[in-house]
Each structure stands twice: as structure tokens, then as C-alpha cells.
């Protein structure tokens, strides 16, 4: 009893002390799953953080913690940030979902933003990007360019976001190349360069000449660069250092406008819990420059598809599409609704193997 009173007292004192300091500055925290130097996912989130600093200057203070494991440790890091006076905390990995909800319940006055999740609360927003729009373009280029008709895919965890990407890439590869086949490796990690490199090598040894990755490091790019005649796409970040070959294009996540807008909302007091899911149109997903290794006609088609997706004229999941077991999912001309996409847990027809878990 006495100890808990003491602790409460200490917490209150700490909150008051930090509260007094934080009055003039808005403190924004970021929780990263990988290192800021991963060259991919976390790197882009950190670019967004820097953009917030550049936009607001002395009016904000940003803090970040990198390499946070998904699980109980994430909860500890978030609690620490909230105790240290953060007004707004971005948690930037799917596995931070439950920790974010748990911590948010303890700190009703702190705003939380969770990337790629689906659980919200009064002080928890979610945001994500429609990466599958970029995957459609990758699939198109991959289907056109593969010689062996084997496309390797390094997947991370079997969550809807990753499955959407596989389906989208596969549909558009098959559309232009009926013989194309996907080999999928589940790495069960977001970031482990050695393992990602091994996975890329295994796929290349089994005949893949296109490597798509949904893991965060540039290791698969390096592995592909070692092999001859293999192409890759940058994931989350441009990875332009591997252009023009093996990297022929990329999906770039641009979080900066969103982070700036949300920080401003907290400063203005207009922040409310929302669910944001933006794609190529609003600019949250960008397509990195398509290198000269891609034939001109393929490049033109890819850019046309990008324009059509951006304007809303084309949706990557437009019927007819069957599920893997052959049952109908989308009828001719029907477009997938966001609810189904957000919870996607099935392969489309033509993909082999089972989704783990």
C-alpha cells in the first residue's frame, strides 16, 4: 500500500515536472521495429520524423527508439515515452498493435498512431499505405521481364498486409504472363539481413530471376546483385543504390505529409481518432524511378497503370478474381471493398502452397 502510494506520488510528480516543460513544445515519439539505417521501412519512417522537425522547428521535440521487439518490450518503450511527456506517439509496425492499445488505455491524454493495424480507440488512430497498388505495378513488370517464369517472393509474417501484396503482385504478373509461378518464402522476420540474403539465394538457386521482398533490409538486393540476370524492386524505400540493376523500380513510403498533418492536429487541438489508408493518389505510396533495364514499352505500361491507379480509374483488385480454392471472390468488374482487403487471409487462384498460421 505504502509503496504504491509512493509510486503514484512519484509518477504524479514526474508527470507534473514533464508537463511543465512540455507546455511550449509538442513532444512526438516514434517507436521503430528496425534500425533507422535499415535502408527500407524504418528509414522512411525516420525521414518522416525528420520532416516533422524541419516543418515545426523549435515548436516540436521528437524522440525515437529503434530496434524495438514486437511484444512486451514495445509496451515498456511506449510507457516510458508517455511518462516522459510525449503528446503524440507513432508506433510503426503491425506487431505493436496490442501494446499500443494497452498503453493508450493507461494514458488517455496521449495520442497514439499505429501503422498498418486495425484496432482503434479514442486516442488511437491507425494509418497505413496501400502498398498493394505498388505491388500491382511490380507484378506487371516482373511478369513481363521474367525469363524463367519463376518469381521469388520473400514474405515476412502472414498478416493481411503481406498477403495483399503477394496477391496483387501475382494477379498482375499472371495477367501479362500466364506461365508465371510464384515461390514464396516466409522469413518470419521484418529485419534480419543474413536470413533475407539466404532466402534470396535459395530462391535464385531454384530458378527465380525476379525477387520481390516484403522484408525491410537491402540484403536481398545485394544477393541479387551477386547473381547474374536477377531483378529486384526496392521495398519501402527507393534503394536506389542498387539501380539500374538489380533494382529496376521500387515502392517508396512517404509518411512525411501524414506525420506533419497529425502533429499539427495535436498542436491545434483538433486531433481525433481516424483511420487513414492512402495510396498512390494522395502520394503516400510512390513508385521509384523505373530504370533503363526495363524495356521502354513495359515501362510505359507500368507508368500508365500507375496513373490509372492514382486517378482511381483502376483498382488492382478488380474482378473476375477467384480465391485459391476456386470459389468466386469478385465478379466481373467488381472491386474489392476495403474491409475484405484489410482482413485478407486467402490467396487468389493460381498461387500454390498454404498461408502459414
Amino acid at each position: 500500500m505504502k509503496l504504491s502510494t509512493l509510486l503514484t506520488g512519484a509518477a504524479v510528480a514526474l508527470a507534473m515536472a514533464t508537463g511543465a516543460m512540455a507546455q511550449d513544445k509538442t513532444k512526438v515519439g516514434f517507436v521503430y521495429v528496425g534500425p533507422v539505417g535499415d535502408g527500407g521501412w524504418t528509414y522512411e519512417h525516420d525521414q518522416g520524423r525528420k520532416a516533422v522537425e524541419a516543418e515545426f522547428g523549435d515548436a516540436v521535440e521528437t524522440v525515437y527508439v529503434e530496434n524495438v521487439a514486437e511484444g512486451p518490450d514495445a509496451e515498456r518503450v511506449m510507457t516510458q515515452m508517455a511518462l516522459n511527456g510525449a503528446d503524440l506517439i507513432f508506433t510503426t509496425s503491425f506487431g505493436f498493435m496490442d501494446p499500443t492499445i494497452n498503453v493508450a488505455a493507461k494514458f488517455p491524454d496521449v495520442k497514439f498512431e499505429h501503422a498498418t493495424g486495425y484496432k482503434r480507440a479514442d486516442n488511437v488512430s491507425t494509418y497505413s499505405a496501400r502498398f498493394y497498388e505498388g505491388r500491382a505495378i511490380q507484378g506487371h513488370i516482373a511478369g513481363k521481364m521474367t525469363q524463367s517464369n519463376i518469381i521469388g517472393y520473400i514474405a515476412s509474417y502472414p498478416i493481411p498486409e503481406v498477403i495483399r501484396g503477394i496477391n496483387s503482385a501475382f494477379l498482375h504478373a499472371r495477367k501479362v504472363n500466364p506461365d508465371v509461378e510464384f515461390k514464396i518464402i516466409w522469413a518470419y522476420t521484418w529485419f534480419d539481413p543474413a536470413k533475407e540474403a539466404d532466402a534470396a539465394k535459395a530462391l535464385i538457386e531454384q530458378g527465380a530471376d525476379v525477387i520481390l521482398q516484403h522484408t525491410d533490409s537491402t540484403a536481398p538486393q545485394a544477393a541479387a546483385a551477386e547473381a547474374e540476370g536477377v531483378i529486384t524492386f526496392g521495398q519501402a524505400s527507393d534503394m536506389a543504390e542498387y539501380a539500374p540493376l538489380p533494382r529496376v523500380s521500387s515502392i517508396i513510403d512517404d509518411w512525411a505529409p501524414y506525420y506533419i498533418a497529425r502533429t499539427r492536429a495535436v498542436m491545434d487541438g483538433t486531433w481525433v481518432s481516424t483511420d487513414t489508408w492512402d495510396g498512390i493518389g494522395p502520394g503516400m505510396v510512390a513508385i521509384g524511378e523505373i530504370s533503363d533495364a526495363v524495356p521502354a514499352d513495359v515501362k510505359a505500361e507500368a507508368l500508365a497503370m500507375k496513373a490509372a491507379i492514382g486517378s482511381g480509374a483502376y483498382h488492382p483488385f478488380t474482378g473476375p478474381i477467384n480465391k485459391q480454392d476456386g470459389s468466386a471472390w469478385l465478379a466481373e468488374g467488381e472491386v474489392a471493398d476495403d474491409g475484405t482487403l484489410a482482413g485478407m487471409n486467402f490467396y487468389v487462384e493460381g498461387l500454390e502452397g498454404d498461408i502459414p498460421g
Binding site: G39, P193, E205, D354
Partner: protein, 306 residues
């Protein structure tokens, strides 16, 4: 399922590559623990080796200079651990953990300018005739020199520990530092040398990842291999050949499970993903049934006045 897609020759060749960083780190740690010191900083020394090697290879254009720098960097970092535990008599577990944290941070700092840089390619052994042999060529004669160094080092450590006077002294220090001290052996000096050897090996292992296995620099790229090396030493009962077996098993099952997945084998992926750990532990536990225990003085602090 299409098992014919898996090429066994390439599989064996790549498992040897996957196992080498683990082997190098484990052999180094084995010597350290044989001298009675528990250094939990393997991960930190590996990652510092990875960036030192990478930076030197990029700046000089020579991968071999890079590996030399990696060994030096790892040894230098381990010297810090040696100072703390052998001179200042700090707790070894705490110092080792701190060394890992320090190494991760230091490597991130050193690596600032090297993200996205490509290292010079490492030379591969190319023996006319031998390297072109079918099957045997790619497996035995087609690798980089460091891979062979790993195997040679294992043999040397085995010979040293089992047959030489130096090995006997090292083991004596690890079993009972008081007795070794009473016999007039410089316990602290021997331990510092062993710690530096361990650091150099871990550094080499780290550089093997950044220069050959991946090859690039990314923060945190050792991703826990140092910890696996630590566990491997225990499960190998502090015996060099078992450490080699364990490392090859672990590397082999890791590469194998990725290949099985790519070939579409209908085993649940979760089982495949845990298989490297499971198989390695199982085999080494069975092997260690003869109860060869840990060095008796492992982790204990020594001071001549005690």
C-alpha cells in the same frame, strides 16, 4: 511440391557459407570459456567486426585487409571487456551484456557513412581442375579463404587444447585459477589473451556476414547470431568439433528450410522456421550425454590475493 528444384550441391555449398560466421564466433568463445571467462559480448564484438571489416575493405579495396581490420576491431573491443573483468574485477555477465549494447551502438555510429555502399568482392579459391570438378568442386574447392580458415581454426583449437602444453595451461586456468596461480601461471594474462582471441574470432565472423554472406552494411545485421554462438558453445560441451558440427547443422537446417519453403513442401512453415534451433539442440544434447561439464572456474572472478 517440387523437390527436384533443390540442387543438393548448391545447398551444401551455401550451408557452409551460412554456418561460417557462427562457427568462427563459437570457436572464439569456446577458447574464452575454456579459460574460465564468460563473455556475453559476442554479439557486440561481431557487429563491430562487421563494420570495421566492411569499412576497411571499402576504403582499401581489399577484402583481406578488411578481415584483418575486423579481427583487430573485435580484439580491441574485447580488450575493454578484459580490462573491466580482469583488471577492475567487474561482474562478467554484466560486463558482457554491456559490451553487446556498446558494440551495437558503436557499430551504428561507425557505419553512418557506409549504408548502401558495395564492398569489393572477395576472392574465391580457384584451383585449376579441382574447382571445376562436378559435385566436389563447388562444395570443397569453390569457397572464399575465410570459410577454410574457420575449419582450420577449429582443428588448431582442438589440437591446442588437447595435445599441447599451452592448451593444458589454458584449461588449468579455466578449471581452477587458484591452482594455476599457485603453480606460477599468469592467470590474468592468459585470460586476457584468450579474451582477445575470442574477440578477434567474433570480429572475423561478423565481417564474414558483412563482406561475404550478405554482403553489405546494415545496422544490427548480425541479428542475434552472437547469442546463438554462445548457446552453441554450451551445447557443444566446450568441444571444438562439436561446435563445428553444431554450426554446420544450424546453418544447414536454416538453408534447408528456406529451400523447402521455396520448393513448396507442405510442412507448416512454423515448424520449418524453428527446425534449425530444434535440430541443433537435440543433436548436441544427445551428444553431450557423456556429461563433460563446464570449466569449473567459468565466470568466477580471480584475484591473486584471494
Amino acid at each position: 511440391m517440387d523437390l527436384t528444384a533443390i540442387n543438393p550441391v548448391l545447398l551444401v555449398a551455401s550451408l557452409m557459407v551460412a554456418a561460417t560466421p557462427l562457427l568462427l564466433a563459437a570457436i572464439g568463445e569456446l577458447v574464452v570459456e575454456k579459460s574460465g571467462v564468460l563473455n556475453l559480448g559476442v554479439e557486440g564484438m561481431m557487429i563491430v567486426g562487421a563494420i570495421c571489416g566492411f569499412a576497411m575493405a571499402v576504403e582499401s579495396g581489399s577484402p583481406m585487409l578488411g578481415f584483418a581490420a575486423a579481427a583487430a576491431g573485435g580484439a580491441l573491443l574485447s580488450l575493454l571487456f578484459a580490462l573491466l573483468t580482469q583488471v577492475a574485477l567487474a561482474n562478467q555477465v554484466a560486463s558482457g551484456l554491456a559490451l553487446t549494447l556498446f558494440g551495437l551502438g558503436l557499430s551504428a555510429l561507425l557505419g553512418q557513412g557506409y549504408v548502401g555502399v558495395k564492398p569489393p568482392p572477395s576472392p574465391r579459391l580457384d584451383l585449376p581442375g579441382l574447382s571445376d570438378l562436378p559435385v566436389v568442386g563447388p562444395i570443397l574447392f569453390g569457397h572464399d579463404p575465410i570459410l577454410y580458415l574457420g575449419v582450420v581454426l577449429t582443428a588448431c583449437v582442438w589440437v591446442m587444447l588437447k595435445f599441447t602444453r599451452a592448451g593444458l595451461i589454458l584449461r588449468a586456468v579455466g578449471e581452477s585459477h587458484d591452482a594455476a596461480h599457485a603453480l606460477g601461471y599468469p592467470v590474468v594474462r592468459i585470460r586476457i589473451l584468450a579474451i582477445m582471441f575470442g574477440g578477434a574470432c567474433a570480429g572475423l565472423g561478423g565481417a564474414y556476414i558483412s563482406l561475404i554472406r550478405v554482403p553489405q552494411w546494415t545496422e544490427g545485421m548480425t541479428a542475434g547470431i552472437g547469442w546463438i554462438a554462445l548457446a552453441l558453445v554450451v551445447f557443444a560441451s566446450w568441444k571444438p568439433w562439436r561446435a563445428l558440427l553444431g554450426a554446420y547443422l544450424f546453418g544447414g537446417v536454416t538453408v534447408m528450410q528456406l529451400n523447402l519453403q521455396a520448393a513448396g513442401v507442405a510442412i507448416p512453415v512454423e515448424y520449418l522456421a524453428m527446425s534449425p534451433y530444434l535440430v541443433t539442440i537435440l543433436v548436441l544434447v544427445i551428444l553431450s550425454a557423456d556429461r563433460s561439464g563446464a570449466p569449473a572456474a567459468l565466470g568466477r572472478i580471480f584475484h591473486a590475493s584471494n
